[in-house]
């Protein structure tokens, strides 16, 4: 075996192991950034390319960059479909007291509402409903499940 062939094989092995590592990391953290859910598993669509929900970090109500992008798509779609009204359903994960979570869900839905309004959707087309921690989409007791449940979902009202 000459040196170049040895190096070539070694390189292949190195590449293979890098790919494997990448896969492993992907599996572990690919669905969350920090503790905000970035996966697609629970997401439904208002129309093609218009996701129905945005996700939040623990105890947070601020919109992430990805959430703002989703809401801009929703706003554009709502401007085009001016007869459709929506309910923004705000949710929290199970790791908080019931009453505080009701308030938190209401605040999350309103963050989304404010953003939709900034992008030209009139306030009278949007109502807000907080479910607190009462309606999780994922019943698991782990951080990935909780991240899916911290959400505001835009639902057609008519």
């Amino acid at each position: 075996m000459n040196l170049s062939k040895f190096l070539k094989n070694g390189f292949l092995i190195l590449v293979a192991s890098l790919v494997l590592t990448a896969c492993a990391t992907q599996k572990k953290t690919g669905q969350m950034q920090g503790d905000v859910y970035t996966g697609k598993e629970t997401v439904e669509y208002l129309a093609s390319g218009v996701p129905d929900r945005v996700f939040f970090a623990t105890n947070e109500t601020v919109l992430t960059t990805a959430s703002r992008e989703t809401l801009r798509k929703q706003a554009a779609w709502l401007r085009k479909n001016s007869k459709i009204n929506v309910v923004l359903e705000g949710h929290a994960d199970e790791r908080g007291t019931r009453e505080y979570n009701l308030a938190l869900g209401e605040r999350r839905a309103n963050s989304a509402k404010d953003y939709l309004m900034t992008y030209g959707v009139s306030a009278d087309r949007i109502s807000v409903l907080s479910y607190g921690k009462e309606r999780p989409v994922d019943s698991g007791s782990n951080s990935l499940s909780w991240s899916k449940n911290r959400r505001s979902v835009t639902v057609k009202a008519n």
């Binding site: 199970e94 790791r95 007291t97 019931r98 209401e106 409903l129 019943s139």
Partner: protein, 446 residues
């Protein structure tokens, strides 16, 4: 229906005996007091009448079993096995042979008699100090036979009060939320039961989500949150008539309701445009007052028993903490300063403590602190638990606890638990279904 039958309590032999025995309730249940609860004596006629009426073979023993269970559950008493009793119920009630009771190490003895008089249930009972060989208390009362379980609870309350020096909490009810179905779509109903888990009744059908029921001080009314027509609002329910009405019909969500100590107002949160503040509504005049006005979340308000202060939950310092303010919203002071987040403050009926839920490093705790935030004591730690509610004498807390689900989402349950203020005597309260959001009534009779 529930409360219409007021008890006539007649003290027939009020003897102010000097108690040699007493139960120290500040030290927990390290050595529960051995007590013998003799079956209540019953004559043949009464026995047959009650059997026809209530389908209970021997009402005398049934009532004594209620007393026995109550005493055991309190953790302060150790009711002795009836098999060891040497004296017959009727003779013991006339004049106990104290040597016999001493022999089985009973320190206190409860005896009594039930009779069927004018279609009513007449009960007398006596509490005896075995070591001193003296009667400590004797009471008799008459009620409708269907109230027989309450008779057992009232006897326990009287015995508890005589031996501990504090009011009991046995003739009481718990209102709670019954839960069924998958975690992602729970069906919730209001339910009410006696404090020992018996006489369970559902008050709503489960058509809409209901949360956080709380008793009025008179026990007749309940305030709670209902999602009727998908509009989360605070409601008022009369448990005698079943009449319901919305009280928090504001343009937004109203939630976290509780009564003021005089029962005349409801204090609650009102959420609008992403901000929750605390309001009161006078139930007679319907006048609404805004108590807090702050861009943070303000919720879970609870009045002090004298009505002068309000404890509440706010995240005005970024995360959930407990605050106390005057009843008009002035002089807001943060009182929780330990590590972690604090929620669900509930003022003790005695006024000296505030019970709370604490979240720290992924664990939930039920604890108490003084009303200025000092003297924090954590009573119990678990994966998830919250929403403590005080027994009317301020000795016991009832709360709910949820279990972790596995990776398949299985294994979830929600149950009611109670724990003594001392941190001892933690026990599950049996319910027909899963259960959450318990609220303890005040004493039904006094």
């Amino acid at each position: 229906m529930l409360l219409r039958y007021l008890f006539v309590v007649l003290i027939i032999i009020p003897i102010e005996a000097f108690a040699l025995i007493e139960v120290d309730i500040t030290r927990g249940n390290l050595s529960p007091l051995p007590v013998a609860v003799s079956p209540l004596a019953i004559d043949k006629d009464s026995k047959e009448n009650f059997e026809k009426l209530l389908k209970k073979k021997n009402l005398g023993s049934e009532i004594s079993v209620i007393v026995e269970n109550n005493l055991r559950q309190s953790g302060l008493f150790n009711p002795l096995n009836k098999d060891a009793f040497l004296q017959k119920p009727d003779i013991a009630n006339l004049k106990p042979r104290f040597e016999d009771w001493n022999l089985i190490k009973a320190q206190a003895l409860i005896t009594g008699k039930v009779t069927f008089v004018d279609k009513k249930l007449r009960v007398e009972f006596r509490l005896w100090d075995v070591l001193a060989g003296k009667e400590m208390m004797a009471l008799a009362f008459t009620t409708v036979p269907s109230n027989w379980r309450r008779v057992g609870h009232i006897i326990t309350d009287k015995v508890y009060e005589r031996l501990t020096g504090e009011k009991g909490y046995f003739d009481t009810r718990i209102i709670y939320v019954s839960e069924e179905g998958p975690k992602t779509n729970r069906v919730k109903k209001l339910a009410i039961m006696d404090q020992d888990g018996v006489n369970n009744k559902f008050l709503t059908l489960g058509n809409e989500l209901v949360l956080t029921p709380r008793f009025s001080p008179t026990n007749q009314m309940v305030t709670y949150l209902s999602y009727f027509k998908n509009l989360p609002r605070v409601y008022l329910l009369d448990i005698e008539t079943g009449m319901q009405e919305v009280v928090g019909d504001f343009p937004g969500m109203t939630f976290a309701p509780r009564f003021s100590p005089d029962g005349k107002k409801i204090i609650m949160s009102f959420a609008k445009d992403g901000n929750s503040d605390i309001y009161t509504m006078d139930l007679e005049s319907r006048i609404v007052e805004r108590i807090t006005n702050h861009p943070s979340i303000d919720t879970s308000p609870s009045f002090s028993p004298d009505g002068r202060y309000i404890a509440f939950n706010s995240d005005r310092s970024k995360y959930q903490q407990i605050y106390v303010m005057d009843k008009n919203g002035k002089n807001v002071k943060r009182i929780s300063f330990g590590n972690g987040l604090y929620g669900t403050p509930v003022w003790s009926p005695r006024g000296d403590l505030i019970a709370f839920t604490k979240l720290h490093k992924g664990k939930f705790y039920i604890g108490v602190m003084r009303t200025d935030g000092t003297g924090e004591r954590l009573l119990t730690e678990n994966f998830y638990q919250e929403a403590p509610s005080w027994s009317p004498n301020g000795r016991v807390l009832i709360f709910y606890r949820e279990t972790k689900t596995n990776s398949k989402g299985e294994g979830f349950s929600a149950k009611l638990w109670s724990i003594d203020l001392t941190g001892y005597n933690e026990r599950m309260v049996e319910t027909e279904t899963d259960a959450s959001d318990p609220s303890w009534s005040s004493l039904l009779s006094n």
